[in-house]
Point group: C2
DNA sequence: TAAGATTGACTCTTCAATCTTC
DNA sequence: GAAGATTGAAGAGTCAATCTTA
């Protein structure tokens, strides 16, 4: 599984230099940050999926499970889940169906809306989410590198950019 | 195309509060940052692909083109491209084949290694990359929201995290 | 044996089209 | 008509297995 070899230099910093040398001084920084985000997402996703594999989960399905865990009744309409997770309705259907097949949640018609569907966490789903979170917390979330103060500031800046990009109001 | 509706609050900040309320105070910040990165990548990717669509490109293929643009000869072995872009060899094959079909690059055996393949930028490829970059610079990279000083610091912190995650040495 | 590249299977994502119900 | 949900198609990513050459 050593496919993504470690480079002896930062390829994005190198790209930034190239950009600055091609009369693109101004957007070079933005390009570097967008590329860094893209790369970091891949790294995190790979690590998360490796941690979640023993539980039969992927990061996308883990997020669905955690969303239900945090809901008051352990259930939620599919449309609301899509809003919260910011994913397409088609993705929600796909993820929920897989989790239902795994017995981690059940689907049922929404009594409040004949068009809607409700996803409801099963005891097995709650149990799996709990155990998976323990691993995610220790193996991925606990230590990203920089210290707490820097990470607090980072979270704030990322929020500002997400807001500027229209992710929320 | 208004599928990803804008929420009146930040769903990740909400998740952070939930995390902190479930005896996971310590990893809550790391979870929030990982999730923010995941979400921001989706937002950037969607915007980038919308900008690149008129050129018949996707962000992944655009990166391949730009890498070749910056190489001295306009050509590079596929394996080296995978290292630089930090993507799987299978992805490189796929992307290069698509770009070759579009006439934006050509494939040829590597004279220095009988096992290898070289991708070489065509004039059309160089032209397309140049025009696409103009749009990417003005529509995406030029203004991410925060001012220059904050973005410089952000780029540095992201680099630290990528390094801690083993993206480069 | 190891490295470069390719293929096929699987997951996740979006988009477009469709069906049912409000 | 609009909203909730589903389906199918296309793109991109991983992994595992394979083929060829060093």
């Amino acid at each position: 599984v050593v496919d993504r070899r470690k480079l002896p230099f930062d390829p994005i910093a190198e790209a930034k230099r190239q950009w600055e040398g091609h009369a693109w001084e101004s957007p070079a920084l933005g390009m570097s940050i967008v590329t860094s985000i893209m790369r970091l997402q891949q790294v995190f996703l790979t690590q998360a999926n490796a941690i979640l594999r023993p539980f039969g989960l992927t990061f996308a399905r883990y997020e669905v499970l955690m969303l239900l865990t945090f809901s008051s009744q352990g259930s939620m309409p599919l449309g609301k889940m899509g809003e919260r997770l910011q994913v397409n309705a088609a993705s929600v259907t796909n993820l929920v169906d897989r989790l239902a097949t795994q017995g981690l949640l059940t689907k049922s018609p929404n009594p409040a809306d004949g068009r809607g569907t409700l996803a409801h966490l099963t005891p097995a789903g709650r149990e799996t989410a709990q155990r998976a979170t323990k691993e995610m917390n220790t193996q991925l979330f606990a230590d990203l590198g920089p210290d707490r103060v820097v990470l607090e500031e980072l979270f704030h800046v990322l929020g500002t950019i997400r807001q500027a990009a229209g992710d929320f109001e």
